[in-house]
Symmetry: C2
């Protein structure tokens, strides 16, 4: 019999509530013969305040034992900005070498978008997750004086760029439109830009069926609001990916439905799946949070582990649920979870 | 009698056409006693192909003699990407220390926006223009091999950050809403982020009437499409400013009406004003380009030189012209220029 051994990190704010619904839907969708085991971890603001710890080596050893990680949200106004982001979220990404940061954007029927008209949005951003300006390289001299100089170093390696570019080409090849867009700023950031462009073109030669193009990151933000239908798969640097995926989430229905995967495709470490939204402390504990983004993150998790049919069933369920919302009274977090669980159990 | 001695750089593609209309409107708006002198420079793709030059020391010496510079557009597909951008546009910005890169975004009545509803958009981005990841710092080792490492170094100085932050506070103080938002990514880019945040907070203490807030650049892109009315003045780093001002232009009517100033507030060198759109080679020479962005750049130029009343008259004229377009047949570049010139001569 098969098994699925999951690390669950509810985290802060609405994280608790949405993760509960994610697990509810997961239990409902899994075939009888897959044994689901979950272990909950208490990372986040509470643990930080109690112990000063964000993510220890022992924690990492424990997390390593799981097939995958489901996370709700990490972050609380009581913790100084950056402490949990770097001490937990980025630390985990780097420790488990989550170099493929996967962020699908699909505007589902019935979902409101800030864009006028009826934009067609269905693309995936493959954001590099372990290099670029996120490596913590850089420093400060003469701190606090009028002569302070602060640097940030974006580090890009052929190894790091090629593996994520390859992942993106494989994803583009597997999609009907087979189109891949490289987003960078190679006219200004010439060192990193040259490496990205070169590697992209080299790998492109191995994928003759994939149509490719290149656009600068500034122009990409224009296309995301004026012609989002032009995108199929996007591959980009860590920081550019951070920026454009928030915009992509906003135009395709908001961060309330945006799912993401922090993936290590080699399987050397478990991958982590989380909704793009944060901990939303203002509505925490009130049953107001929409668990759809978490449920869709569960679908990404299942697809990553090879449970494609179950992933598709979850996506269809969320899609159907969203399509029927218009004009209905608002439901609580757990009511939405119940509805989705009922649909996938079908 | 007063004079205005302008360097005019029509440049490539539609640059020629739109600059002609900008000058037409400028002549029409200037008071009789201001003597307008213009000198045209041939920078751009043609000169590059003929001589290999983009912007020489002698060119810079010549440009220095002027009160300000009006530019149409630089860039052509016949020149490799980056050559004119770095060899001309960025070289000029750095040579003349254009550290205040000013980009107003105002959604004028009658102008189409990709956003649904009727968003209220009226803000100004003060983008730092001479530091950050634009300094060309960085390098490559083992180029072209599987062990290549490419770095980009963002350089930020207290001097460079403070002068642009001060400029932004002064602009916020002068606007009715008196609100200034710092956009950065200080939870990840901690060295530069700390410097920016510290300087921002220090200068804020001198402007008790200005309301301040901070948002991460990724979240800023969400607000730009969901709540653009929340912004009044934004101050940000060179690269973040590059990205969010293209998005800002897109949501506030497109780059067809987006003006910009590359300003050296000290007056040590002439400032340069240009439409945000590029050379649009696909429609060049056909009289199809909208000169409004260039005409609005002329308004920024006039305000920079203290001709506030004339600047306001141009802005009102463009506003009125745009408001009356709906349902009318399209006009040529010079017809729009004529109409604006007639309005400002009024
Ligand atoms: C919380 C932060 C460190 C993180 C990032 O910048 O990657 C977040 O914005 C994201 O996109 O996952
Ligand atoms: C052409 C390019 C170098 C330039 C920049 O990146 O600053 C442009 O995008 C801009 O915003 O003025």
């Amino acid at each position: 019999s098969r098994s699925l051994n999951l690390a669950v990190i509810p985290g802060d704010g609405i994280g608790q509530e949405v993760v509960a619904e994610g697990l509810k839907v997961l239990s409902a969708v899994l075939p009888q013969d897959v044994k689901l085991e979950t272990k909950e971890y208490d990372f986040g603001a509470k643990r930080y305040h109690a112990t000063g710890e964000t993510l220890t080596d022992a924690d990492l050893d424990a997390l390593k034992q799981h097939d995958a990680i489901l996370l709700g949200a990490i972050g609380d106004p009581s913790v100084p900005s950056g402490v949990l982001e770097r001490g937990f979220l980025l630390k985990l990404r780097f420790a488990f070498d989550h170099h493929v940061n996967l962020r699908p954007s699909k505007l589902l029927p019935g979902v409101a978008t800030p864009l006028a008209g009826e934009p067609q949005i269905d693309f995936v951003v493959v954001r590099e997750g372990t290099e670029g300006p996120y490596t913590g390289n850089g420093g400060t001299i003469r701190k606090g004086t009028e002569h302070e100089v602060a640097t940030e170093v974006s580090v890009n390696t052929a190894f790091g760029v090629e593996r994520v570019v390859r992942d993106a080409f494989a994803r583009a090849q597997a999609r009907p439109r087979k189109k891949l867009t490289l987003v960078h700023k190679n006219n200004v950031l010439t060192f990193a830009g040259h490496l990205w462009t070169n590697v992209f073109n080299k790998v492109a030669a191995e994928y003759p069926e994939v149509t490719t193009d290149y656009i600068h990151v500034d122009a990409a933000t224009i296309y995301l609001v004026t012609q989002p239908e032009r995108f199929d798969v996007i591959v980009t640097d860590n920081l550019f990916g951070d920026i454009i995926t928030d915009l992509a989430a906003a135009v395709s229905g908001g961060i309330g439905v945006a799912a993401s995967g922090n993936i290590n495709p080699t399987g050397a470490f478990p991958s982590m799946f989380e909704p793009v939204h944060g901990s939303a402390p203002d509505i925490a504990g009130q049953g107001k949070a929409d668990p759809s983004a978490t449920v869709l993150s569960v679908a990404l998790l299942l697809r990553h582990l090879g449970h494609d049919a179950e992933a598709a069933r979850i996506e269809d369920a969320v899609s159907a649920d969203l399509a029927e919302r218009t004009g209905k009274p608002a439901r609580s977090t757990s009511q939405i979870g119940d509805a989705l669980a009922a649909r996938v159990a079908g």
